[in-house]
Amino acid sequence: MSDLTTTMKPDPMLEAIVGPTPGQMLRKRIFGHQGLMIGVVVLAILVLVAIFAPLLAPHDPYAQSLMARMKPPVFLGGTWEYPLGTDHLGRDYLSRLIYGARVSLLIGAVAATISGVIGTAMGVAAGYFGGKVDAVVTYLINVRLAMPVVLVALAVVAILGGSLQVVIVVLGLLLWDRFAVVMRSSTLQVRGREYVAAAKAVGCSTPRILMSEIMPNIANNLIVVMTLEMAHAILLEAALSFLGLGVQPPTPSWGLMVSEGKNMMLFEPWMVLIPGAVLFVLVLAINLMGDGLRDVTAPENRS
């Protein structure tokens, strides 16, 4: 009997085959995800550029110079004085782009946060309480989806007057639908899990269950929607500004720069291409990050 117990010990050779810990696997998935890494790096660079704009910008983005109007960028025969040329008022394009990153990122982050708070509150309430609350939230989501975003945003901004604050608040109040939809369905899934039932069984209060049982388990979806809506808000701001009813001149908004460049498009297409390309890269980076986060945290990837 004694040697039986010794031979029952786990075999060291089989022990060695035990896989990596969940934390290691998550790290491996994150660093192994090309899109996610590209998105994070590009976004980080753009955020740093926005933060250190005053140090990086070679000129004052608002300083006009009649002597230096429409200078071409370096690669089209310009000088290093204005690496990306100047616009129709002689303002340095590079400096305006650098400060424009501040506008886009600020609008994206704040608008997505406002809609995130509204949408998450609605979605979690609908998913957790169900019944009448759910019916009301579903109805509100339907109303919101039925309204054409660009049109309503344009109209409201036009009525209230275009300023950074107005654009941010209007977008924040309009873009909560995806948060509500995703948070509602995530909460519905989590609500039925055993640990929620267990928390109820031991007498936890509803706020406590929502905060410490539900929220941590839907947070990954929240982050994913947050990034995607941030990209959405940035694109919408650019579109509003492009249509001349968003952020007003002389604020350096990328959408506005495209709009201003449009008049010169026939002769100086770079004036449209450059700000649009920067906008595209920023939105692409945020989307890649959002998609990457979704892939990395998706339950089907947890093996």
Partner: protein, 305 residues
């Protein structure tokens, strides 16, 4: 099925009323519509006269009721700028927008669905990567910028296509591509994800176990199930596209309803703006309602349930 349709119809009508209330109250967002209408140079008497002329002195609910009952009769008021009935103004312009929307959604479906299916059949292949690239780029592409690039390349540099106007079908090529590309990524992703999920399902294995050919498996057993959610997404996208046509129409100078909306907003022509918001919302509500019904009909679990 009938029960479902009635329920869904009830929701649609409720939503339509709410939207009408919201678009009506836009008028009062600026404070005093009479002052806005009279302009900055108007005297107090003028403002008062306008207030009475347009009936702004009455309680809001009364005004809303009047506006709504007129709207239900097809009378959406008179444009401040054109001095014409808004309904005929919109009806005039809507044709171009509807045409553009139909072209856009067709373009999106015709590219996205085959691409999504091909990508799902061979995950991680070249075609999957191309599809993924197109959809990621499409989601990040500002449509106004994309439109301008097309104009720069195809109108200015190559001289192949007219940059603006609506005279011939060639005028619609670039707007269709821009608008369609806006809807394509979501449809492509949903088709791909749906096909992938369906292809890994057990009934597909059953079909293979029967000896069905790969073609039958893909196009009879799989696509039929994967396409159901795509139908409702396409309807939603169509609704979004009509609302989003404002950007495309302004770039290509297509004088449709979106262009009208842009002009009217810039001119503070509130009755037209209100009516356009209402009309675009109604289109969205009708599309999604019809797609839900179609969906229910396509899915036997709903049809017979």
């Amino acid at each position: 099925m009938l029960n479902f349709i009635l329920k869904r119809l009830g929701l649609a009508i409720l939503v339509a009323f709410t939207v009408s209330l919201i678009s009506f109250s836009l008028m009062f967002l600026s404070g005093d519509p009479a002052a806005a209408l009279a302009g900055e140079t108007a005297s107090d008497q003028d403002v008062e006269a306008i207030r009475i002329l347009y009936g702004f002195d009455r309680p809001m609910m009364v005004q809303y009721w009047e506006w709504l009952s007129n709207a239900l009769m097809g009378d959406l008021g008179e444009s401040y700028y054109f001095k014409l009935p808004v309904s005929s103004l919109i009806a005039d312009r809507l044709q171009i927008t509807m045409l553009l929307g139909l072209c856009g959604i067709s373009f999106a479906l015709l590219t996205a669905v085959p691409l999504g299916v091909a990508a799902a059949i061979r995950p991680n292949s070249i075609i999957d990567r191309v599809a993924l690239f197109l959809s990621v780029a499409g989601q990040a592409m500002p449509s106004f910028w994309f439109g301008l690039i097309l104009i720069v390349v195809f109108s200015i540099q190559l001289g192949w296509l007219p940059p603006s106007g609506t005279a011939t079908w060639r005028h619609f090529i670039m707007p269709t591509i821009v608008l369609g590309y806006y809807a394509m990524p979501a449809i492509m992703r949903l088709t791909r994800a749906g096909m992938l999920e369906v292809l890994s399902s057990e009934y597909i294995r059953t079909a293979r176990a029967k000896g069905a050919s790969e073609f039958t498996v893909l196009f009879k057993h799989a696509l039929r199930n994967a396409i159901i959610p795509v139908v409702s997404l396409a309807a939603v996208q169509m609704g979004f596209m009509l609302g989003g046509s404002i950007v495309v129409e302004s770039i290509f100078a297509l004088h449709g309803a979106g262009y009208l909306a842009w002009e009217s907003i810039a001119r503070n022509d509130l009755p037209t703006v209100q009516a356009l918001i209402l009309v675009f919302s109604l289109f969205y509500i009708i599309f999604t309602f019809l797609s839900d019904v179609l969906n229910a009909w396509l899915d036997p679990r709903m049809r017979t349930g």
